[in-house]
């Protein structure tokens, strides 16, 4: 009587496991994306997918390439550090194709966003109660948005 007479069932079991393992590896190979684990436990391609989205805000450097005259006026005023698109809105499309004209702005709406008096604003920030300050006149009747200080305008004209 040989000691390994009834081992056939063990081989059957082992082959079932081996088939299962091969199937698992095949499925895993086909389902897990190639770039998964490239940098960590995530899809590496996701990085380039997120970064390839188009931009809406061109950035003030792009504006200054063409509108150097405005920059020249603006840099002496109190709005020198306010980026163009902060007021004018996102204009990446206009930067790419200048024939797409930006919207006209309404200073009556625009200026009060920042300058309407509010107790929570920093004390040194210039604020007005718009209703009392201008009696309904649009802000650009007196102030030039690119150089808002009225005295500065007067000095320049002299």
């Amino acid at each position: 009587m040989t000691p390994y007479k009834d081992v056939a069932h063990l081989f059957r079991l082992a082959s079932a496991f081996a088939t299962g393992l091969v199937l698992f590896l095949l499925l895993r190979g086909s389902l897990v994306p190639k770039s998964f684990g490239q940098y960590g436990h995530y899809r590496g391609d996701a990085l380039s997918e997120v970064s390839s989205r188009p931009i809406s805000y061109a950035g003030h450097e792009a504006c200054e390439l063409c509108h150097a005259d405005i920059l020249e006026v603006k840099k002496y005023g109190r709005h020198a550090h306010v980026a163009c698109e902060s007021c004018h809105g996102p204009l990446a499309k206009h930067a790419e194709d200048p024939s797409i004209a930006p919207q006209k702005l309404d200073t009556a709406v625009l200026c009060v966003r920042c300058h309407e008096a509010n107790h929570a604003k920093p004390m040194d920030f210039p604020q007005v109660h718009s209703a009392e300050h201008s009696a309904g006149l649009p802000c650009n009747t007196c102030h030039q948005p690119h150089t808002p200080r009225i005295e500065a305008e007067v000095k320049k004209k002299k």
Partner: protein, 242 residues
């Protein structure tokens, strides 16, 4: 062409590998950008914030955030007396259209909020499928194609910075305008902030002026006791802010 069966069999795997590269397409959209050379954060200066909501509007326009949801928002704090327990916080429509005038006196200030891009972020640790992660340059991103929408990360964020985008049914959050900063631009919120209250910070770039600011000011992160490694640094942060 004289091609033996033997040569063809050798060439086939090589051709398969080459075809794989063709299918993979161009790997990087910004070829000059090396993620490992950057470590992004943000500086938010409460002493400069005027609550105009420019950042909120810019973020929604740049990132197509649905109405009523916010990747960044502004809160107004009103602290009466001197106790932190009498805090009133409001943020009408995320501060998008500014804040109504406040008649009651008390200490009052604006706090811009956003994803803190934590280095040890709780939200990425709970994702069951690896759809959210900290990128090699320190930005917490969401892989929209891989997200199941299980909302686990939304629960896990201690700062409440995530939401389920109703259009895509995936988790959504501030990605620090990753499509902009990898092209050398600043984020939409920083670009549109009129007072410079928000500044993008590259913590690995020694020439970034933010380093000088961080060295010379008392800055703080939100909920430091949670040790999330938050990289949104606040200047002038009041103890009442949560």
């Amino acid at each position: 062409m004289n091609l033996s069966r033997r040569k063809l069999l050798i060439l086939l795997p090589a051709a398969a590998v080459a075809w794989d590269y063709v299918l993979a397409g161009t790997p990087e959209d910004s070829p000059n950008y090396k993620a490992t050379e950057h470590w992004w954060g943000m500086l938010l200066d409460i002493t400069k914030c005027i609550g105009c909501g420019s950042c909120v509007r810019a973020c929604q326009l740049e990132n197509h955030v649905p109405d009523g949801f916010f990747r960044t928002w502004v809160e107004r704090y009103v602290v009466r007396d001197w106790g932190f327990e009498h805090v009133k916080v409001d943020s009408p429509d995320g501060g998008k259209n500014g804040f109504p005038a406040l008649d009651d006196e008390g200490k009052s200030f604006f706090v811009p909020k956003m994803c803190n891009h934590c280095a040890d972020s709780p939200c990425t640790q709970v994702c069951p499928v690896g759809a959210t992660f900290v990128s090699p340059d320190g930005v917490v991103l969401v892989d929209q194609k891989y997200c199941l929408g299980c909302r686990y990360c939304i629960q896990a964020c201690p700062y409440g910075c995530r939401f389920l985008n109703p259009e895509t049914n995936t988790a959504d959050k501030c990605n620090l305008c990753y499509h902009r900063i990898t092209k050398g631009l600043t984020t939409a919120c920083c670009e549109s902030c009129p007072t410079g209250a928000r500044q993008l910070a590259d913590l690995k770039d020694p020439n970034d002026p933010v380093h000088e600011f961080l060295k010379t000011h008392s800055v703080q992160v939100l909920k430091p006791h949670l040790a999330t490694g938050a990289k949104a640094f606040y200047n002038g942060l009041d103890g009442s802010v949560r």
